[in-house]
């Protein structure tokens, strides 16, 4: 309760939360409001926005409803962003915990693998992965997670290294607890807060990466995505700039919203920690 109040006490956090709420509503009502296929032709091609109120944002090169595409695109962006970030955090936390807790050879091997992933530019990695396996929503999520798990892994490992020296970990060993149970039940939950603080940055990056992949034509072809919309509009950028601008603005607002809300959460928990 007081934590929520603290979160809402900064204007940035409120703005971020409002943007995210709006986005979530868009994603949720998309199938109700625009029940048909958003990729179906709805009217004449290249109709500018605010002309016909049955197509408020106009139509694209093929005559598809831009507003419907925008709403359905929000679904894709949110789904991919959240799923990829969750996967990256999960992989990172598990790898970091194992490396930090086991130490020795396990640590050495896992951290060198992490290094290898970190030295390859993450977008190239995602690009290569999707072009080999083929574009589908699951593959895009996996590709983004694959390039984003190293940060959480390093943070988790550093945290675990300090926690594993605490008395309560020794206490768990003394009562005969299995090392894996100690790692994942005693150590990991206490190592999570700083790892979770990375989540807003990872979600924002994941949404951008997904858009970039779609822009290059490597998104799921059966789904509307904002990146794909921008790519579509690119060919008619001079005659119909709104086709790129509308999804572009949506993308910027989304990333901003995720970031502001994430900062708000970190800020409110930081205050909490310094008080206790």
């Amino acid at each position: 309760m007081s934590r929520l109040r603290r979160f809402l006490s900064t204007p940035e956090a409120v703005a971020g939360a409002l943007i995210l709420a709006l986005l979530a509503v868009m994603a949720l009502v998309a199938p109700l409001l625009f029940s048909g296929d958003p990729q179906a032709i709805a009217g004449p091609a290249l109709q500018p926005p605010f002309q016909d109120w049955s197509l408020p944002l106009g139509t694209d090169r093929l005559g598809r409803d831009v507003l419907a595409e925008l709403f359905h695109g929000a679904r894709t962006s949110l789904a991919v962003g959240l799923a990829a970030a969750a996967a990256a955090l999960l992989i990172g936390a598990v790898v970091g915990t194992l490396a930090g807790f086991a130490g020795g050879l396990v640590d050495e091997v896992l951290m060198r693998v992490t290094d290898a992933f970190q030295t390859v530019p993450s977008f190239l990695l995602a690009l290569a992965f999707v072009s080999i396996v083929g574009p589908s929503l699951g593959v895009v999520v996996a590709a983004i997670a694959l390039s984003a798990w190293t940060g959480p892994a390093r943070v988790a490992r550093a945290e675990v290294l300090s926690i594993r020296e605490r008395d309560y970990v020794a206490g768990a060993r003394v009562i005969g607890m299995h090392p894996l149970e100690i790692a994942f039940r005693e150590v990991l939950p206490n190592a999570l807060p700083p790892v979770l603080a990375l989540s807003s940055v990872i979600v924002a990056a994941a949404i951008l990466t997904e858009a970039a992949l779609s822009f290059l034509g490597l998104g799921d072809p059966n789904r509307v995505t904002w990146g794909g919309m921008i790519a579509e509009g690119r060919t008619v950028l001079r005659t119909a700039p709104f086709l790129s601008i509308v999804p572009g603005v949506a993308l910027v607002l989304t990333v901003l919203g995720v970031y502001l809300a994430g900062e708000g959460v970190v800020e409110s928990t930081a205050v909490r920690r310094s008080l206790s």
């Binding site: 605490r166 008395d167 020794a170 206490g171 060993r173 003394v174 009562i175 005969g176 299995h178």
Partner: protein, 258 residues
């Protein structure tokens, strides 16, 4: 037969580039239902010995026989199973528990790990353990950070006795407690020792406390045994330099006896 027999135990660390022995050729035995105290200034190796005996760290040399068997030969599941008989209570009762734990979970773990009680029986066993250490069974639902320091140390003792050990290592277990609480905890430990025949390895820097509860004392200095013997005799008339210094430094209440 002794519960614990430690011989020629040695543990070396590196300080900068030069190695030094934190524990240097230390040998002692503890008999059933006996309290052996380890005393000495900070850095004398007391806590290192505790951690070696519990296999939290591995010695560089020496032997540890626990209940007649080679304790250092055990590993993996066999070691974890054996740990039921050899427990520990830490100095800071808050740091000794997972900050997210509840009292019930802390006591549930040893019962579950060592198959001491079925899932259905455990709540009753937990209540019995709490009552055994003088706590209300209703405390089980509370979080560890909600209860007082003295209550926490009682929970720590309850956890240590849950697996019916023959030896408990008490590492400065009463040093962080208020004096009034300290007396009660010491009484509880002595009561448990008498009824369950538990042996204690009692680590403390406080000779007054050691004299009150220990049968024998080993005084350490820089990782080596300086002297050992009957606790009251050694404290009344220490022979080693460090023993004399410890006795001289202990604050005294000089008052005419009523």
């Amino acid at each position: 037969m002794s519960v614990l027999a430690v011989s020629s135990l040695t543990k070396r660390y590196r300080r900068g580039s030069k190695p030094f022995a934190a524990v240097d050729d230390v040998s002692f035995e503890i008999n059933p239902a006996e309290t052996l105290a380890l005393a000495g200034p900070s850095g004398s190796g007391k806590s290192t010995i505790a951690r070696l005996v519990l296999r939290l760290i591995e010695p560089d040399a020496g032997r540890i026989a626990f209940e007649g068997a080679d304790f250092l030969a055990l590993s993996g599941a066999a070691l974890r199973a054996r740990r039921a008989r050899l427990q520990m209570v830490f100095q800071d009762p808050l740091a000794a528990f997972n900050p997210r734990a509840t009292v019930a979970r802390v006591l549930d773990d040893p019962l579950r790990i060592h198959n001491i009680a079925t899932r259905a029986e455990r709540p009753r066993r937990i209540a019995a353990l709490l009552e055994r250490v003088g706590l209300d069974a209703g405390l089980a639902a509370r979080a560890i950070h909600e209860i007082s320091g003295g209550q926490r140390q009682r929970v720590a003792i309850a956890r240590a006795i849950a697996t019916r050990p023959s030896l408990i290592v008490l590492d400065e277990a009463v040093s962080a407690l208020d004096v009034s609480v300290r007396g009660q905890i010491l009484e509880l430990l002595l009561d448990l020792q008498r009824q369950e025949r538990i042996a204690y390895l009692f680590i403390s820097h406080d000779l007054g406390v050691i004299r009150a509860v220990a049968h024998r004392v080993v005084i350490l200095d820089a990782g080596r045994i300086a002297e050992s013997g009957d606790a009251r005799a050694v404290i009344a008339d220490p022979q080693s330099a460090i023993g004399k210094a410890l006795v001289a430094a202990t604050p005294r209440l000089t008052r005419s006896r009523p």
